[in-house]
Amino acid sequence: MSEEDEDQAPPKRPRATPPPDQVLDNVLETVLQFLAAPRDRSAASLVCRSWHRAESATRVSLAVRNILAASPARAARRFPNAHHILLKGRPRFADFNLLPPGWAGSAFRPWAAAFASAAFPALRSLSLKRITVTDDDLDLLARSLPPSFRELSFLLCDGFSSRGLASIASHCRGLRVLDVVDCEMNEEDDEVSDWVAAFPPGPTNLESLCFECFTPQVPFAALEALVARSPRLRRLGVNQHVSLGQLRRLMALTPHLTHLGTGAFRPGDGAEDEGLDLGQILTAFSSAGRANTLVSLSGFRDLAPEYLLTIATVAAANLTSLDLSYAPVTPDQFLPFIAQCRNLETLWVLDSVRDEGLDAMASFCKKLQFLRVLPLDAHEDADELVSEIGLAAISEGCRGLRSILYFCQRMTNAAVITMSQNCPELKVFRLCIMGRHQPDHMTGEPMDEGFGAIVRNCSKLTRLSTSGRLTDRAFEYIGKYGKSVRTLSVAFAGDGDLALQHLLQGCSKLEKLEIRDCPFGDAGLLSGMHHFYNMRFVWMSGCNLTLQGCKEVARRLPRMVVELVNSQPESERTDGVDILYMYRSLEGPREDVPPFVKIL
């Protein structure tokens, strides 16, 4: 630099590159491909117009968690390049028969039509949860989905039958995943389609095939032939009609399985089971390095317990996931198996294992993160098989627990408090004391302090289900300390409106609220007006709401869809509100509304 330059202002050099906000535009789409988390994607879409365009163009995973909140046209306009689409439909309480069938039977139709008209030309995978899908929908999809389409999974869906599955099997050539989980399919016994045989001949690309919930029998020869020509199969879940002998044959064809749904797990009467013995099953589970590849077992739909013991020494050590929720095993049958499961992270089990079984599990399964203890007999007055003893034992042994669903007849505050102290990683705490309004059975106190301790001590808690006798105090605690709670489920609890007010005014992150049979009225409901637009939905059934109160909500929140559902369509209800289900929608109220639903 010369002396003259230093005297003047520095000359404006031509920039080698444009200013930052334009620089990024050239590589923005590549940058955004590395952004996956939904909240990051949302944030990026709000930065400026060019970012919004780039984010929309590069979003590959699209989740519409309430199918009634947005139309497929809107979704396709904004995210035309979606590869994976997740759609969720009914609210969860529908699982307990609280919502009459046909509540939103045709919600999926416009989406099927959109997929058929190539609104999402890059579509590879579709996941549906709690949605009614008809055989005609599946037929339409099967015939018009792009060749890139690979994965179809149904969870808690209904409305279709084997005929629809047969359409999918025969037309979706590149299919890699077909998972039908916990679905209620319509089957006329004499009209069952052999969808397994509908897969075209020649090798398939199947990596995952699950049909554990499929109630009719699947012809075994066709199943065996299909599995034999599916060299990439890693996950196989068969239904309860597949016997142990048949399972053995299928396993011989699938040496690389990682996830196995075992069907009946009992010898049957057919040719495949002749001469079946424990040694053969031991071999099936130990040969071809299977002990090192198999990580997940489920099924056991008609378990012959001696076979479970047989595979304990070879199959258990590598397992990270075990679902025994269809196997009513006793502690004696459970202990030797669970003792080998040192790497278990996920366990679903029936309370038939008793406190004893849970205690043993807690001493062996130190890596456990996700636990469900489900009731053998889901009635208020059933035998007490597990109690606070089991819960306390779990908390002592499984310090890394993240999620628990625990059914019992009775509980104590002390055990719940102990869990809150021992398990700081808890994100999900769902306690289901089956006796309504049951207090702490040792002290006679309400269960307020237990749940209070959970929200106070478990700072990562995002999901909470309460039960037992609870006063307004429990809700005061939840409102005060449950600042990260997003999903809340309340049944038969509280003293009055104040409880609901505590929740709606305290839980600032609340998104999903399901309430049944609580003494909450209009005043409680109206205390949440400031927050409802931040929530995905509110469900209140069997409470003390009136038409007046619900109309007030609808009037003040015009973009909220406020549905009043009559849970017994046969009988005219004139007094009070039966079910209130309200949710935000960008499209306004839906048009196909059954007679038992009134939209305010």
Binding site: A16, T17, P19, P20, D21, V23, L24, N26, V27, T30, V31, L32, Q33, F34, L35, A37, P38, R39, D40, S42, A43, A44, S45, L46, V47, C48, R49, W51, H52, L62, A63, V64, R65, N66, A69, A70, R74, A75, R78, F79, N534, R584, S585, L586
Partner: protein
């Protein structure tokens, strides 16, 4: 000198006139150059008017490292595998100021060097993670050109339907 030292050299010339001699194998990492070499329309001197010397020298440093890392040298000096070593080296390489990072990503885009493009873009993406829109704007000096209504509409669409 051993035979391998007599490698064919290519000269790359930056926008500000500086010349960089690189091995042909290294120059081939730049796909735009590779095509020119393979199509035999490259002289031994190639001008790169979109890349200045500061950035070009870094790009060459990156390509040099990656070309030679492909042939592991067993010198027992590192406890890590060659792949881990390279990963650590990459992590250090992108610890630069924001302007340089952007310039590197642009250069990688223009010169078609996929691995460097992915590395720089991943690093930029990491700067976006966990931030609110306003924080992202501040980080990258971006002006918000939405109207208030537009922004509300998008926010609503995000929260109500697509999150």
């Amino acid at each position: 000198m051993a035979a391998e030292d007599l490698k064919k050299m290519i000269t790359l010339k930056s926008s500000d006139g500086e010349e960089f001699k690189v091995e042909e194998a290294v120059a081939m990492e730049l796909q735009t150059i590779r095509h020119m070499i393979e199509d035999e329309c490259a002289d031994n001197e190639i001008p790169l008017p979109n890349v200045n010397s500061k950035i070009l020298s870094k790009v060459i440093e990156y390509c040099n490292k990656h070309v030679h890392a492909a042939k592991p040298v067993a010198d027992g000096a590192s406890a890590l595998s060659p792949a881990e070593d390279l990963k650590n080296w990459d992590a250090e390489f992108v610890k630069v100021d924001q302007a340089t990072l952007f310039d590197l990503s642009l250069a990688a885009n223009y010169l078609d060097i996929k691995a460097l493009l992915d590395l720089t873009c991943q690093t930029i993406a990491d700067m976006i993670k966990g931030k609110t829109p306003e924080e992202i704007r501040r980080t990258f000096n971006i002006k918000n050109d939405f109207t208030a209504e537009e922004e509300d509409e998008i926010r609503r669409e995000n929260q109500w339907a697509f999150e």
